[in-house]
């Protein structure tokens, strides 16, 4: 009896679960794919700490011949052009996120108000652009020639300020978390529309605002397409993503565009650890995302779950 009880007890622990071999197989498959997802990033981190000699000798390797922090030292030395674009990325992200969250909330709130008769009009105005558009070329020409979105920060911020998709997410957040009675009560108490939105509604939909803010911040941080379209000469405003893209095609881009003078410039150009430097920049661009990742996971999943089915 005693001999029998042991296995029964162990089986009870695994009641209504998959068998152990199957679970092991699942672990193996999921672990493999997880590695597939994360190893490329780790590889790039390793390359960024690899000495230029080692890269010349054996190429990019998971175990380099020698390590070096030279790439990161050069990031500091080549201050101007690199930090400028790093700063630009932050600047565009912060301004763009603040403005787009404000616009999204202001647009979604009236759409959520059932007593606002014009809401159908505004709803359609936003929704129709999700299913039909002028296309890339007309949009480009209008933005550049008519609206003056060219060679400036505005060109990198304005085209992404508003998204009907985010309006739908925000409106759904409002619909599920703000009871109509609350707004009626505030109105009876003499609260104005803007006051109600700010003091009554906003505190309740903070998770929704956080979701939209994170989605927009991510979109602005990862943005390179707008720079590809609208920035031709003015390297002063380009974000880091676009700088990386240019470096892929033009290895000397940094040396050419850094404001070092004379012998110093030539010196830098010759000794530039260009391969590991590029990878160091990739690491620098991923680090802020990795830092914000826990927040992303928490808020973005909620937002995207709403958006994926309703968008």
């Amino acid at each position: 009896m005693l001999l029998h009880q042991q296995p029964t007890k162990r089986r009870n622990l695994r009641l209504n679960t998959i068998s152990l071999p199957t679970e092991t197989l699942f672990h193996a498959i999921l672990m493999l794919f997880s590695l597939f997802c994360i190893v490329p990033f780790l590889f790039v981190v390793i390359i960024s700490f690899t000495s230029e000699d080692s890269i010349r000798q054996i190429g990019y390797a998971f175990v380099p011949q020698s390590w070096s922090v030279q790439a990161y030292q050069y990031v500091f030395k080549l201050g101007d052009v690199l930090w400028r674009s790093y700063f630009n990325s932050f600047y565009i992200t912060i301004i763009g996120t603040a403005l787009s969250v404000l616009m999204t909330l202001l647009y979604a709130y009236p759409l959520f108000r059932k007593d606002f008769r014009q809401r159908h009009f505004f709803n359609f105005l936003s929704f129709f652009t999700m299913i039909f558009g002028g296309g890339l070329v007309p949009t480009y020409i209008i933005c550049k020639n008519v609206l003056g979105l060219s060679e400036n920060y505005a060109a990198l911020i304005v085209p992404m300020l508003f998204s009907p998709f985010n309006v739908i997410i925000m409106r759904t957040f409002l619909q599920t978390s703000v009871p109509t009675e609350l707004i009626e009560a505030a109105t009876i108490d003499g609260s104005g529309e803007y006051n109600t939105l700010l003091k009554v509604v906003l505190p309740i939909v903070k998770p929704g605002v956080a979701t939209i803010a994170l989605l927009n911040a991510l979109a602005y941080w990862n943005e390179w397409f707008l720079a590809l379209l609208y920035i031709r000469q003015n390297t002063e405003v380009i974000p880091l993503q676009y700088l990386l893209m240019k470096m892929q095609r033009n290895a000397d881009f940094i040396a050419k565009n850094s404001h070092l003078l004379g012998a110093d410039a030539a010196n830098v150009a010759v000794n530039l650890p260009s391969q590991s430097l590029k990878m160091a920049l990739v690491v620098l661009i991923v680090v802020p995302i990795a830092c914000a990742y826990p927040f992303f996971q928490r808020f973005v999943v909620a937002g995207l779950t709403i958006g994926s089915v309703k968008g």
């Binding site: 695994r14 679960t17 679970e23 699942f26 672990h27 999921l30 794919f33 997880s34 997802c37 994360i38 490329p40 790039v44 390359i47 190429g59 990019y60 390797a61 616009m103 999204t104 202001l106 647009y107 009236p110 759409l111 007593d115 606002f116 505004f122 105005l125 936003s126 929704f127 652009t129 299913i131 039909f132 002028g134 296309g135 890339l136 070329v137 007309p138 949009t139 480009y140 933005c143 008519v146 085209p159 300020l161 508003f162 309006v167 104005g192 529309e193 939105l197 990862n222 397409f225 993503q241 990386l244 893209m245 892929q248 990878m279 990739v282 990742y293 992303f296 779950t305 994926s308 089915v309």
Partner: protein, 322 residues
Amino acid sequence: MSVINPRRPAVAASLMGSQRKKALLLCSMAAPGALWLLLLRYLPMFGIVLAFKDYRAYKPNTFWNNILQSEWVGFKNFAFLFKSPDTGVMIRNTLLYNLTFIILGLVIAVAFAIMLSELTRRFAAKTYQTLMFFPYFLSWVVASYFLLAFLDQTSGMIPNLQRLSGQTAIDWYQSPEYWPGILIGANLWKNLGYSTVLYLAAITGIDRTQYEAAAVDGATKWQQIRHVTLPNLRTMIIILFILNVGKIFNADFGLFYNVPLNSGSLYSTTQVIDTYVYRAYMNSGSVGMSSAAGLLQNAVGFVCILATNTIVRRVDPESSLF
């Protein structure tokens, strides 16, 4: 109106006044967004006429004047577009890639979500989920560097390993035959985690008592997956599938432009409608052809979305877009 007592006109007037004031204030909230939509989305829609015009620069060289002065050419731009051998290639690529992404994305994501939900070690499941979801937050520019680390002709790991083992190194960025596999892999790498998390959220939402009842009735775990999990996911799977089919003519520009490093030798397997429109305009400056291709994409996409939405409305009215 009927609520307002006609015998008390003062109250009625003030009520109507406050109604109007409220509507005005709410309109003012929507105004910035509406203005943005009008300028950046509706104004370019007039540019659709470009597809039917021979767009040239006139004096004064402003966009509107050029449009007005340019000659109407009817469907000539479309005729040119369809004569070009590139057109068939880019339409084929767009459709085949998107179809593959949709099917693989769906099947593997559902499988992964079920696997994650069945793991008994919650910590392990959470870790896998976190690692899988990570690439979704990176840009295609960053992803292209990740790939370059492996495939770069001079320093890349794979060509180097090939040279070490005495083989000739493959010049990946010049060999179009490998790119369908690479692009499908890259797309799964970036997006699979996201769809997995989405399906996992749906599985977590399933009422646990359904599983308990099935277990009491003697259902094995596999039978439970078949008869409880999958039926519960059915609607979501159908909706996401149909919505994605509605977007089948729109390709992910970053994937097809950045990941192959814009390499011209790879166009036969990497050119899609979106990259074609961009290149036709930016590189050859052909406004007419690129506008025609863009309009074709938008028009067909519009019809696809209307059609798929009608189907979604029949399957599950709650999930339809409109």
